[in-house]
Symmetry: C2
Subunit: 418 residues, 2 copies
């Protein structure tokens, strides 16, 4: 069987599973999820053994210590996956919710109901725990899932997916509700993202390179964020102590993630006072500061920035710093150089806050808080399948509700159109 035929078969199996999943009650789904967690727990040794194969291959291939660390399934991480599943059991199932309902003058009752999307493809990189996290969120929302993990974690992913599918089947999970692509052939990704009519949505999770590749090849919808070039703007009306604390948190608390700040914008009226303070504090935290000409004049520790710095997602202890004329100038800078992810204003002026929150065209806009809060857990969603900087369907952190769509069910008593 060719790869193409094999992928079509996997797609057809997913469609069949999706139709069966749509009929499961929440109670049934929760009992299946519990069985998945139990099975994963019971197979700890199998998982460790599979993971050891990946680690050995990784060491042989010369993966970095950081990569090997991401790859490793420790007992604590397995316990974390199991707990993650049990947490998903407690989350509200959005499927079947009435979004709205109304009656037309002719008596037709129109119900807008939340339903599963259908078949979702998840494409991710090295962390094997994504296999469980993504699969159970798709399952809880009655979506069939096709998983494609990184080649480094191929044995670990298979062991996890087997445990979930086989554990779930003990409680009546439909066959092929959770499928994992076992081949490491890169052509399989292309097939997956081009399966119109079989795959309804692709969610890529990983670095910008992976996401761009997927988005460019895809013939089916993709929800994604390419990167997070997040800004904090310190207005002239800011409480400067608050501004300092928020800036340091946004840059330094975890610099390698998409909601960390990359560029700090400072209103020119308070730049003389604030820039030396914030630069000093950044340097104390090990941050290299690259600024525009005015920033360089205000503090000699600032290195000169180039045009590329305004576009940069450093994911590192580096900060771009720019002095702006006013809030409008800050908004223009963010809409031009930003990534529509998360941007913050620190200001006491309500007028500046309004101009900023209305003008900045990003998924999440903060007033007097750190950009680091863009996260499904921090938003109270209970779980996160990803973050979107797209404008259609879902923006910002995506939880269970964002894994659903809706349909109209219209109830009549014989109405015909005149």
């Amino acid at each position: 069987m060719s790869l193409h035929e094999d992928m079509l078969r996997i797609g057809d199996q997913a469609v069949t599973a999706a139709h069966k999943l749509a009929a499961l009650t929440t109670r049934k789904k929760n009992s299946i999820l519990t069985a998945m967690a139990d099975e994963l727990e019971a197979r700890q040794n199998t998982l460790r053994a599979a993971n050891e194969k990946d680690l050995a291959a990784g060491r042989k291939a010369g993966l970095s210590a950081a990569m090997l660390d991401r790859l490793e399934l420790t007992d604590a991480r397995i316990a974390g996956m199991v707990k993650g599943i049990r947490d998903v059991v407690t989350l509200k199932d959005p499927v079947g919710d009435k979004i709205s309902t109304w009656v037309r003058p002719n008596g037709l009752e129109i119900r807008k109901l939340r339903v599963p999307i259908g078949v979702i493809g998840i494409i991710y990189e090295s962390r094997p725990n994504v296999t469980a996290d993504a699969a159970v969120l798709c399952f809880k929302t009655s979506n069939a899932v096709i998983l494609r993990g990184g080649k480094e974690s191929v044995h670990s992913n298979a062991a996890i997916a087997d445990a979930l599918q086989e554990g779930g089947e003990k409680k009546g999970m439909p066959a092929n509700a959770i499928q994992l692509l076992r081949t490491t052939d890169r052509e399989a990704v292309k097939e997956l993202v081009q399966m119109r009519g079989r795959v309804d949505l692709i969610i890529p999770r990983g670095g910008e390179g992976l996401i761009r590749t997927v988005a460019e090849m895809a013939h089916v919808p993709v929800i994604k964020h390419y990167k997070g070039v997040c800004h904090t703007f310190i207005d002239e009306s800011a409480d400067l102590d608050q501004a300092l604390s928020i800036s340091i948190n946004a840059k330094c608390q975890r610099p390698g993630v998409c909601n960390a700040m990359e560029t700090l914008l400072v209103h020119e009226k308070i730049a003389g006072e604030f820039v030396p303070r914030v630069v000093h504090a950044m340097i104390e935290n090990g941050v290299e500061v690259r600024g525009d000409q005015i920033a360089c004049t205000l503090d000699s520790a600032v290195k000169e920035a180039t045009e590329d710095d305004w576009y940069a997602e450093y994911l590192d202890l580096i900060l771009a710093l720019k002095i702006v004329k006013n809030v409008d100038d800050a908004v223009d800078h963010i809409n031009r150089y930003g990534s529509q992810h998360s941007d913050a204003i620190v200001a006491q002026s309500e007028s500046a806050q309004r101009t900023f929150t209305q003008g900045v065209d990003s998924s999440t806009v903060y007033v007097n808080a750190s950009t680091r809060f863009t996260d499904g857990g921090e938003f109270g969603m209970g779980a996160e399948i990803g973050i979107s900087t797209d404008k259609l369907h879902a923006r910002g952190p995506m939880g269970l509700e964002e894994l659903t769509t809706y349909k109209y069910v219209v109830l009549g008593q014989g109405q015909i159109r005149e």
Copy 2:
């Protein structure tokens, strides 16, 4: 200037306009809409003269009488466009609506707010009135629009777009809020649908050929329906008088539109009684009936259907007729051959209704009503920008709300992430 550069300029202008549009109040937008309607009304003679050029070119090019009819701007149609704009003034503006809002334990207030999508491209065929209809719905929702009409109506579209933009500017509409592509170069469509970062959404309106071409070339999201292969299933529990009336309405009331029925499915237990009745009534209404083997046996007026008939969107007085074993069989048929547009069950049995509405994976599912109601006006949306059979963002009839997205605005008092 090359076409490519010209399109980038148009895209940049739309982005600039979109940022300005986002700041307009509903009151301001309504006064601009009224000015557009006034201007269109005042330019009736200009519109007629421009339209006469298109009609003359159309006659010369040998367009069919039906095409020429679609192209013609009569006084009544101009009055219809003007009234359409005045109606949009009265519709509720969804921009700025709070979809939901909640406070986290750390005091962060998360607001999910409805905002414009940004820049929307509308690609349509010969009817010039779409120029006004689409432009004003995009404007009411603070989206910048780039219009691309059919080459047959190029002069009419330009006259309408000029009236809207110039009329609107008298009341302060931002420049380039409504742009029309004046070139008939087909490459311009390709450029338009590939402008990532400048165009946020494409809505194609027209025949399946146009929509497939657009969807296949697009690098930006497209919301669409390819076709409407709509079904009516008559269950064994149906009131057969109701079944007959709904079937005739769904097939015959306006056969050339996407929500007309193309295939009738009949439960085998009532086929002996119902098939001769419905076939007789269809033939009286001028409908050619193509059925499966059992249907042919039940009524000699039924011609034999081929596999292609089950996929066909006839848009004509032709009906495919199939006898099915039960509701599950009907659901399977619809999910296999249908277009996820609109499908109906006629049944008194609540269990059959539930199986059908849950199982059929279509944007709109009817119980005891005609599929012809899938329409923004019939749904009470007041206006319709199109119908979607996609699963992301919008399904079914799309009104003003479907031309918006959301953003999160998060209000803090200095919160940082621990």
